[in-house]
């Protein structure tokens, strides 16, 4: 079992624990598709996220050397950066990308693995994802893995040693919400590592539903970045994740098909 080692959050109520480190926020956010770095930073601050994903790409040779960079606005001293393998379609590219990320971030081990299978749907290639996860875990990476919402695949990825299972709710960037809560429930019920919905959230109610199901957290990018007001939406998502988590912990009332029990006294009625 993971132990909490971060002194800042020891004692914090109900932390998210990933790879032995505790976080107050259960909302993880991406950094793509924003208008500029200032908006990126403002939205992330409003979201309260502590873990933020970044992509690894070739530097633009010949560009203005004084051009600001993402990490000037999101310094690793303030955030847990989660390098991802977005855009990788095979194991080799994913591993290469994350080795570069580890070098870039001074030995940083926590990564998001995603190996895509199709450029139109961005559905994960599960076979390549499993292969890559095996190699990365053996190499010492702490792997948070994006995958389809298949409970058997989730179980295999956990057995390999991934530190978090991150099934899609619907397609990346689609904003279609949670299309198969039943599969997510199966994955959550069996997992001993955190399960986070990654991809498909469109608006705040989607995040609430994910958290009410018992997800440990939600990772999103487009739902915030492509909102008309990304900073306002980031705040809404923060509240949604918190509300959903509290409702999950509180335990919802049983569903009834017929209204059996009024909320007000049945005696002392006037007339």
């Amino acid at each position: 079992m993971n132990t909490v080692t971060d002194p800042h959050v020891i004692g914090a109520e109900d932390p998210l624990v990933v790879a032995g480190r505790a976080y107050r926020s259960r909302l993880l956010v991406g950094t793509g598709k924003y208008r500029d770095f200032a908006q990126t930073r403002a939205a992330i601050d409003a979201s309260g996220a502590e873990i933020v994903t970044v992509a690894i790409r070739r530097t633009n040779i010949g560009q203005n050397p004084n051009e600001p960079s993402l990490l000037d606005h999101l310094p690793p001293s303030e955030f847990t950066l989660l390098p991802n393998t977005a855009g990788c379609y095979n194991t080799e590219d994913a591993i290469r990308t994350l080795k570069l990320a580890r070098e870039l971030l001074d030995g940083h081990k926590l990564v998001k693995l995603e190996v895509l299978g199709d450029p139109h749907t961005l559905f994960p290639n599960v076979r390549e994802t499993i292969r890559a996860a095996e190699i990365l875990v053996k190499d010492g990476f702490d792997v948070m893995v994006y995958t389809s919402d298949d409970p058997i695949v989730a179980r295999e990825l956990e057995a390999i040693g991934c530190v978090a299972i991150m099934p899609l709710a619907s397609l990346i960037g689609s904003g279609m919400g949670i299309l198969n809560p039943w599969n997510l429930q199966l994955i959550i019920d069996q997992a001993k590592v955190p399960v986070l919905v990654d991809a498909g959230v469109g608006t705040a109610s989607d995040a609430v539903i994910a958290m009410e199901l018992g997800c440990a957290g939600v990772l999103m990018n487009t739902a915030i970045a492509l909102a008309k007001d990304p900073v306002l939406m980031a705040g809404a998502m923060k509240k949604a994740v918190e509300a959903g988590r509290e409702a999950f912990r509180a335990g919802r009332m049983p569903r009834k098909f017929y209204a059996g029990s009024p909320s007000s006294p049945t005696t002392g009625l006037i007339g």
């Binding site: 991406g30 793509g32 690894i56 790409r57 070739r58 530097t59 040779i61 960079s69 993402l70 870039l104």
Partner: protein, 67 residues
């Protein structure tokens, strides 16, 4: 002068050049970048002693916005 492939494009190098020289030439010194030479990571601490050779495939990457 000799030719290498830098981030997928042809690039000319002076006769003796290290990875550190190349990073400096590109005005990337002090920036958060990672370098790969012919598929192998060149750790920051070895940039100064790693020679770039004709035909090398060099990748220099940075963190950018992504989901």
């Amino acid at each position: 002068m000799f030719a290498i492939v830098l981030n997928g494009s042809p690039h000319r190098c002076d006769s003796t050049v290290t990875v550190a020289d190349l990073v400096r030439e590109l005005a990337l010194q002090g920036k958060r970048v990672a370098v790969e030479r012919n598929g192998e990571i060149v750790p920051k601490g070895r940039h100064g002693q790693t020679q770039v050779a004709p035909g090398d495939k060099i990748e220099i990457v940075a963190a950018v916005g992504g989901g």
